[in-house]
């Protein structure tokens, strides 16, 4: 491996250096206390949320976290409930990372990253009881609502999890279901355009993600250039009253002199501030 003095002597264009030696490129920036996109290591990207723009969906949201763009739409359909849960509806979240959002993704069925994201989001929405599935019941044992929450990434610039969770929560908050009546004689459900009911949302969890580089720097809200170079990831999910819902950590979280408990505690404190800011957008 070339030493840093050898690298500094050769004259290379910065963008070429970024492609050939991404790790050294990031190290050079962090040694000055700044990241390649100009942020401080602990700084977050701006968030913008736009709800209700898609008329064909019962609820929709478009979220931009920096350059990462996620569109989420909620479609409602009617189905028979499961036999052992006759009074509960279904909530089916999915995220699609199509080939258009980044050169990393190939066209075709969902790859590993999309499957992992979908699974994590499913765990958050179901286990934290964001929505009461009992409120989706139209007639016990016969007809319940199924909410398909489909998110598509249009531009992938890192940290898709935070953006997608925000998009799904904003879309669910925006969703209105038509009033449904179940006809016992015909066994059919009819809905009316005239009145619609918002969903019974119990909690609004939001997340904040961090990455650890080289066991020496904590980077908040990693961008797509930084993500493959990070050793560990920490995601903190907080509720609307600032209560901690879950912490997910993959990889060793020791940073310099600090132990992993201190690092995680520090991340939780930062996450509280971030989620309070993001919550103002929805």
């Amino acid at each position: 491996m070339a030493s840093s003095s050898q690298l500094s002597q050769s004259k290379i264009d910065p963008s070429v250096f970024q492609r050939l030696h991404p790790r050294a490129y990031l190290e050079r920036f962090l040694s000055e206390g700044i990241r390649p996109d100009g942020r401080d290591p602990g700084a977050w990207r701006g968030v913008s949320v736009n709800v209700g723009s898609i008329s064909t969906a019962e609820g929709s949201a478009l979220v931009r976290v920096g350059d990462t763009t996620i569109v989420c739409g909620v479609k409602a359909e009617i189905a028979e409930p499961e036999l052992d849960r006759p009074e509960h509806g279904f909530l089916v979240p999915n995220i699609d990372l199509p080939a258009m959002c980044s050169p990393r993704f190939k066209p075709g069925p969902p790859g590993e990253e999309a499957q992992v994201l979908s699974d994590r989001l499913n765990n958050v929405l179901i286990s934290l009881e964001v929505l009461s599935t009992a409120s989706l019941c139209i007639h016990p044992g016969k007809a319940v609502w199924v909410l398909y929450v489909d998110a598509t990434c249009l531009n992938y610039d890192g940290n898709a999890f935070d953006a997608t969770l925000l998009a799904m929560i904003a879309a669910l908050k925006n969703t209105k279901l038509p009033m449904a009546k179940f006809n016992e004689e015909t066994g059919r459900t009819t809905c009316s355009h005239s009145s619609s009911v918002p969903l019974d949302i119990r909690h609004l969890p939001l997340s904040a993600s961090f990455g650890i580089f080289d066991s020496s720097h904590i980077l908040a809200d990693p961008a797509s250039f930084e993500e493959p170079l990070l050793d560990a990831f920490i995601t903190v999910i907080l509720n609307e009253d600032g209560a901690l819902n879950s912490i997910a950590q993959s990889g060793l979280a020791t940073v310099g002199e600090k132990s992993s408990e201190e690092v995680v505690a520090g991340c939780v404190a930062e996450a509280k501030k971030r989620c309070a800011d993001t919550r103002k957008c929805i």
């Binding site: 723009s53 064909t56 969906a57 909620v74 999915n94 258009m100 398909y148 598509t152 992938y156």
Partner: protein
């Protein structure tokens, strides 16, 4: 209707879209005069190039209820393929699950592929593919909201051509596209989904206004030969207007980029 897809979170085996009682009672109203605009008016177009930073070129187009995002990657190398003298254009269209009144399965189906073929047909004559041997250009189109298939094909072609220009791919001219329908006596341009269902025939034209060349024509339904000629002329005139919109949008985005 969903089959078990082991790569996605699945809902119940079978679910149906909601049936509305006001739809059962009333039949669709017969449109004799157009509501809100004159037969030859097209809806205002909102077009922004360069929205997707990860792609070589991109565009987002919005006309009232049609919203389409397009990204272009290329020219890039074709791996594991024999030598090709002329570059390949690969157009992939995907309707988002929430884009239509009835939810669409996440897997690509026949409608996605045929829309892709139509857009491919509109774009290929405009590109200088002979300058790109061994390469392919990937155009990915995601339809976020669908207001009629003709509208999607037309807007998709415009977005794809803008994205290709944004990516700096050499071309003979920008491709713009316009759709028209024949109602009882009139020809209405830029139909909505509701208008298209009641039309006798539909006609979608793609052309390069800079060269005055037509690149693709897609006609369905009943139209007399005279109506087809009239449609061609009217769509071409509108395509010229759309070309101005596209050119202005590209120039503005370049001037802000510096």
């Amino acid at each position: 209707m969903a089959s078990f897809d082991r790569r996605r979170i699945n809902g119940p085996e079978e679910s149906r879209p909601p049936v509305f009682d006001d739809e059962i009672d009333s039949s669709p109203s017969n449109l004799t005069t157009r509501e809100g605009r004159s037969p030859k008016d097209i809806r205002p177009i909102f077009l922004t190039p360069g929205l997707i930073s990860q792609a070589n070129g991109s565009a987002y187009i919005e006309t009232e209820k049609t919203k389409i995002a397009c990204a272009v990657y290329g020219p890039r190398q074709i791996k594991n393929a024999p030598y090709n003298e002329v570059g390949k254009l690969n157009v992939e269209v995907k309707f988002a699950p929430f884009s239509c009144t009835r939810r669409r399965a996440p897997m690509r189906d026949a409608e996605d592929r045929s829309t892709g073929v139509l857009i491919h047909q509109a774009l290929v004559p405009s590109l200088r593919l002979e300058l790109l041997p061994k390469s392919c250009i990937d155009v990915f189109i995601t339809i976020l909201e669908n207001d009629g298939l003709e509208g999607c094909v037309a807007s998709g072609s415009v977005a794809a051509s803008t994205a290709l220009a944004d990516a700096g791919i050499e071309m003979f001219g920008l491709v713009t596209s316009c759709a028209g329908i024949t109602m009882e006596k009139d020809i209405w341009l830029d139909p909505t989904a509701e208008e298209a269902t009641q039309a006798r025939g539909c006609f979608t034209l793609a052309c390069m206004p800079a060269l005055g060349a037509i690149t693709s024509v897609w006609q369905t339904g009943q139209m007399t030969a005279d109506e087809i000629i009239q449609c061609t002329e009217e769509c071409q005139a509108r395509c010229k207007d759309i070309h101005d919109v596209v050119a202005t949008a590209l120039l503005n985005s370049r001037s802000t980029k510096g």
